[in-house]
């Protein structure tokens, strides 16, 4: 008998994790960030419960600064798959006019993303939330469990993680606590792209190269996605062939110049370049262990 391929094994493991949450947790939700990892996670959820629909809603924490194409893609996918979609916005942040240009990336991320996520989890009383994080993204993630527990205050304690052996997941929590579940923990960026290719998974067109209006700022190419972006002196908008390796808030997401317009092109480019994907994320450029600190405070 043909032995299973690495993608088949990864797929089976992710499906196992999702079914476990559906069976054992009371009120799960899938955090859907619209990026390629979320696309894979959603695809796996559709497979895990077939012919049933995934027995949980999708939730998008919208910072109001996402690329427009992401939002339209999100809404199309929810309709196409017939899933419940919850969109949560930190309205308090909006009324205070919080944004990356006025408040800086750190405050913006803290208020519109981290705080907004906590608000949403509290509001809907979700006891389990799927996230698309992978262990290969960043060093502190490499040690996080697949089932990662959060106190009632949403804090993560890296020193007090539950042992995780075999595929036996301890899903028990006390009232008010919750668990973040990472079904893609063991996938790498290359696995994600190979799987998208093999399964023909739809992704946001921003991943593919096209002529887009960009401004060069602090060594990054930032796309001018709407008229909220103030131009500094000497900056000019240029049309360049660019694409994005990760998606987030448009002012915080650097584009790369590229001609890769198909999936094989993207994969080829990824394999031939030697810059890891997080480099495009402006928020990572803090201190070495910054992500660990953010996570302890409740960043996903």
């Amino acid at each position: 008998m043909q032995s299973l391929t690495h993608l088949e094994r990864l797929e089976a493991e992710s499906i196992h994790i999702m079914r476990e949450v559906a069976a054992a947790c009371e009120n799960p939700v899938m955090l859907y960030s619209i990026g390629k990892d979320s696309a894979v996670m959603l695809h796996l959820a559709m497979k895990a419960f077939y012919p049933s629909k995934p027995p949980f809603p999708l939730m998008h924490v919208d910072t109001t600064w996402k690329f427009k194409e992401m939002i339209s893609f999100r809404d199309q996918m929810a309709v196409k798959l017939g899933l419940d979609l919850i969109v949560h916005i930190n309205e308090e942040g909006v009324s205070q006019g919080v944004g990356p240009f006025t408040h800086g990336s750190q405050a913006h991320t803290e208020i519109m993303k981290t705080m907004a996520l906590k608000q949403a989890l509290d509001k809907y009383k979700f006891d389990a939330a799927f996230g698309g994080a992978r262990r290969d993204e960043e060093k502190s993630r490499a040690k996080e469990r697949i089932f990662s527990f959060r106190s009632a205050q949403h804090r993560w304690d890296p020193k007090n993680q539950r042992p995780e052996l075999w595929n036996l997941y301890n899903t028990r929590i006390n009232k008010g606590e919750s668990v973040r579940v990472f079904p893609l923990s063991n996938w790498t960026e290359l696995d994600i792209w190979q799987y998208i290719h093999k399964e023909r998974i739809e992704i946001v067109p921003l991943y593919f190269s096209a002529k887009r209006p960009v401004v060069e700022r602090d060594g990054q190419l930032i796309m001018v996605d709407d008229d909220r972006m103030p131009l500094k002196e000497g900056e000019e908008v240029q049309m360049k062939s660019v694409r994005f390796r990760t998606l987030g808030c448009y002012p915080l997401t650097g584009a790369v110049e590229s001609e890769a317009a198909t999936l094989p092109d993207i994969i080829q480019e990824m394999l031939l370049t030697k810059t890891s994907e997080r480099q495009g994320r402006v928020i990572d450029h803090d201190a070495a262990a910054s992500m660990e600190k953010k996570k302890q405070e409740g960043y996903f």
Binding site: S140, A142, E164
Partner: protein
Amino acid sequence: MSHQSTLIESDIAAYLQAQENKSFLRFLTCGSVDDGKSTLIGRLLYDSKLIFEDQLSALEADSKKMGTQGEGFDFALLVDGLAAEREQGITIDVAYRFFSTDKRKFIVADTPGHEQYTRNMATGASTADVAVILIDARKGILTQTRRHSYIVSLLGIRHVVVAINKMDLVDFSEETFNEIDAAYRAFADQLGFASVTSIPMSALQGVNVIRGGSDATAWYQGPGLLEMLEDVDVEEARVERAFRLPVQWVNRPNLDFRGFSGTVAGGVVKMGDEIIAMPSGSRSKVARIVTASGDLDEAQAGQAVTLTLADEIDISRGDVICGGQAPSLISDQFAAHILWMSEDAMLPGRQYYMKVHNKLVSASISDLKHKVNVNTLEQQAGKTLELNEVGVCNLSLDQQIAYDPYKENRQTGSFILIDRRTNETIGVGMLDFSLRRAQNVVWQEMKVDQEARANLKHQKPAVLWFTGLSGSGKSTIANLVEQKLYDRGRHTTTLDGDNVRHGLNKDLGFTDADRVENIRRVGEAAKLMVDAGLLVLVSFISPFISERRLARRLVDDGEFIEVFVNTPLELCESRDPKGLYKKARAGEIKNFTGIDSAYEAPEAPEIEIKTADLSAEEAADQIIAYLDARGYLSATR
């Protein structure tokens, strides 16, 4: 070997096609800080070209700042993760690393080697198929080598690679290598590995890390580490086992579809195969193997599928669908190896949640047979298991489960233990065998009587009758005893003198006749609760021997435990928690025991507590010890 295939540039489509058929291997590295383990993993990542430029420049900066290799790269820095441990320079948890070659994708579990991290190593080993055990060529086989090897074998890893590292520091001596290799094989003989492969290596210089045939070790003809890991076959064994599908989720989108979803834990299943569901023993045939990409003709170990059956039989989460000719075993009493993972010691008798495949049950460790010294493999006597200790235990569950011995199937033979209060995972284990002889599918008829009810609660019911002066500490001690029993998962109730007089006995006063009736009713109520299998704590002054004898006669021998809370009158009076002595002295209360009414001390109480010498906590422990020693806290069968 790395992603430097020329196909990437010339024909990406052909490259992707080829990559789709890669196999998969999870392995574990074990060794101590000084063995060069992180350096080895860093080297594997580096040499298989999986370090990106920005990571490399960060590595360069870090190497200068905190590296130990002068101007060279300190590969260990690539691998060490969390901030605290980076500063200490040791890995204190399990970290998972990923790399792949054109043949295989690898997941490396990187675990620390110190004795206090046995639990972390076991965690990494539980999902690995191969273990790479690092040995410093200068030091040879150490205590930790034996410990690592034992844990690896305990967790069921069949293939071991002995990486004899730092060969550059012993001039790549063939003799040193051979000595260590021979010594390791002699020791590992008792651990029953399917294969042991020794490789002479220098992780620092990259000798035999990727490929063999290094000039430095011209005398060595074997493979390099990565070559070996690319070729080792671990799949076959899984597929050859009996078919097992632990049911994870019942899939019911509508009334016409009832599927059983789960990950195949062993063997192969084909459409039309006869199956037997355990523990019920119901039989049917596989109607469909459903996946979102279409029905399958067959499914094998490792695949996540949904089965539908030809007949409507009752199956739920936690059951195991098995091949019709090879049902799993069932039992509720086991011998098992347990590795303790919590700072709080394992206590025999305490109730834990136990998760076995997809089944959650209540379990207690009825007996610790012996501990295993993880360094010497010697058996040692012991009462409890502390953090990182391994023991062979008897386990008692509240219901029958389907299982296989761990040696036959890691998925259906492993379990975790969960604390009922904190929900922490506090222990993990491997089922060895059932302690019941008959493992047939048919249930035995059983009369539900007092013994049956008590056995369900894993206890022997009794009345604990606390007698003593007012203010002697009866209720305080009784409450503590009940708390301790509760913590151990025992079923209790309390009848308190004051409280009973508010309800059941509120029509009674304090005449002699009413006092006797008061005791009779309390005794009868306690008897009913004993019949229900409970441990009943009665806290009553009950000053007269005859009243207490009356209560004693209501239940069987051995079911009445008289606890004399012996506190001198002066002490009670000085405590006077309810201000009653003061009132009695002032003549406001008549017939007050100890003042103007006698207290007849028991002549032969089962337990006497001298509270002048003991704290309430110590007193409660004394009572628990009595119950333990006389078998009240275990089932009678």
